[in-house]
Symmetry: C2
Subunit: 332 residues, 2 copies
């Protein structure tokens, strides 16, 4: 098998992602040039943000160009190397794309220490998603013991870590997710103090009950009506972290938070974050997260699906219908 | 003339303010009890925020109750005193309401030093409006020399001071206002570097021209489509100060800023402020503002209308149609 299956973006989706926005193509397995490595991809990270990368306009990263392999983070094993820092058998994290084999010049590769945690965890609690929760809560929102912290997309990869970091800090953690099963997981497995099912609960009313003193910190992964509901329940001096807006990515005409004047009434702030800005502090954060994992204060919720490159479009779609709990990973 | 004319709120307005939302009533001129003063009101401050005080729900201040004298800041002269700190003839700033005579127990009264600046300036650059610009720019937005600062409602009481404080700090100041005359005033009289007429210009396009490197600080008094336009032109790390939303106050179904995800893309923040939180620092800020006034770096744009209590509803309405430039003051 010397064929490299690749998932290539062929159209900027209108609304929901369709199979026809991609083409499954084949290429030869690349050979490394001077200073390059070739990696066999073992795990592919599937993230809501991918949907925004597929739109034509510039966002916090350039869009994926039509005809290119779909961008994705992943973990792979070096199978050929002409790079001084990497040897055959090394396991690495990198932006390998949705394909079976990737060529890299070493840029932004990170080592994966499987003595510390299983490989999948480097796409979960120790991956970009865990780091997003870490810097979002500690640096942007500056959470303090005693804060009431609300997390949306709480059963997702970022949200499940955010809730646990809030608990580790001595905050009250309230998770918002869709469906009774996820909500049970939030409280019984992940450790949130309370869960709100946005599909059946009146989110405003539920927040009044679960956060009677108001919301000090809101870690927002979804935007839309849930953001608007939380805005009505802010405590004085609240901090909202905008980490994503999964409810809006498929929407060509996103709606803004109509209740944003609550920021004025409550002297609150809403701040956008992109985890890449903290790259020079990843080692420090990863060490801390790994320690909490080792001590049992933190678990990495992962949803690993075994399959092939061809399964990617359907898995990505599933993120927006709420099919997964924890970090969604395609294991090749 | 021992009659006190008062403007009483009789209905929570639906949409625009109507004359019928008020009643002009008369009462006796009050006599001071122990620890009280009676003030003859000379100047009444007319502010966009008044519209939000007339809505039934709680905002950053309690709503004005139906049947009460309409709330207003003003400047008056003590005509009777049984308060140890105040003597007949003292000129004071206070929340005297829309009436000719006010009774006060001394709470939140501030002295007015007419050797430093004319009385009207204590409702303008040295008043709540000037202080809002001061704390909004220096404390919330932390403006720095070289920043590009955009101000909406730039010909208004807060906006005209904000633009001048930006210039004093060594920023580039761009004002947004309605109509060619106001825009001329912004540049020729107030000292903005550039003006954008939102009634005729494409605000996005004009920002691309006047702020080619993006907007570092946006001081927002209006909300609505202008906020959305500025969101598309943010520089990395931009700070938006939400000081008001005059375009939304008459609206029962306000619209949120659809482009708020620009906060994420640009790692930007949007923070609400209420000037009252800085009350313990008013003296420091007032001294600084008075010094800039004395040195000629700052002018207080005031629009003084002579009239009676009965003129109040029409003047308030005029704020929302853009009739005034600078601080609107009713001189009785």
């Amino acid at each position: 098998m010397d064929i490299n299956h690749q998932m290539v973006l062929t159209a900027h989706p209108e609304g929901d992602v369709k199979d026809s926005d991609f083409a499954l193509t084949t290429a030869e397995i690349p050979a490394p040039g001077d200073g390059q490595v070739v990696v066999k991809v073992d795990l592919i990270s599937i993230d809501p943000a991918m949907r925004s990368w597929m739109n034509p306009g510039a966002s916090y990263v350039p869009p994926v160009e039509l005809g290119s392999v779909m961008r994705a983070g992943g973990i792979g094993t070096v199978i050929a190397s002409r790079h001084p820092d990497y040897a055959i058998g090394d396991e690495l994290y990198g932006a390998f794309g949705v394909q079976e084999y990737a060529l890299s010049d070493g840029t932004d590769l990170r080592g994966v220490d499987t003595t510390l945690a299983p490989k999948t965890t480097y796409l979960g609690a120790l991956g970009i998603t865990g780091l997003t929760a870490y810097f979002g809560l500690f640096d942007v929102a500056r959470i303090q013991r005693g804060d009431t912290v609300v997390v949306s997309g709480a059963a997702g990869a970022v949200g499940s870590v955010a809730g646990q970091l809030a608990k580790i800090t001595g905050c009250r953690a309230i998770g918002i997710a869709g469906g009774p099963e996820k909500c049970r997981t939030l409280v019984e497995t992940i450790g949130f103090d309370a869960a709100i099912d946005y599909k059946t609960d009146d989110v405003r009313k539920a927040l009044r009950e679960h956060a009677p003193g108001g919301v000090d910190v809101y870690f927002d992964n979804v935007g839309g009506p849930i953001l608007d509901a939380v805005l009505t329940r802010l405590a004085r001096g609240a901090r909202i972290v905008i980490s994503g807006a999964v409810s809006q990515y498929n929407d060509r005409r996103p709606k803004g938070p109509a209740n944003y004047m609550s920021l004025l009434v409550n002297r609150a702030s809403m701040t956008g974050m992109v985890v890449f800005d903290y790259a020079d502090r990843y080692p420090e954060a990863t060490r801390q997260l790994a320690q909490w994992l080792a001590e049992g204060h933190l678990t990495s919720a992962e949803h690993v699906v075994k399959g092939g490159i061809e399964d990617f479009p359907g898995l990505l779609r599933g993120l927006f219908t709420g099919a997964n709990t924890g970090k969604l990973i395609l294991e090749l």
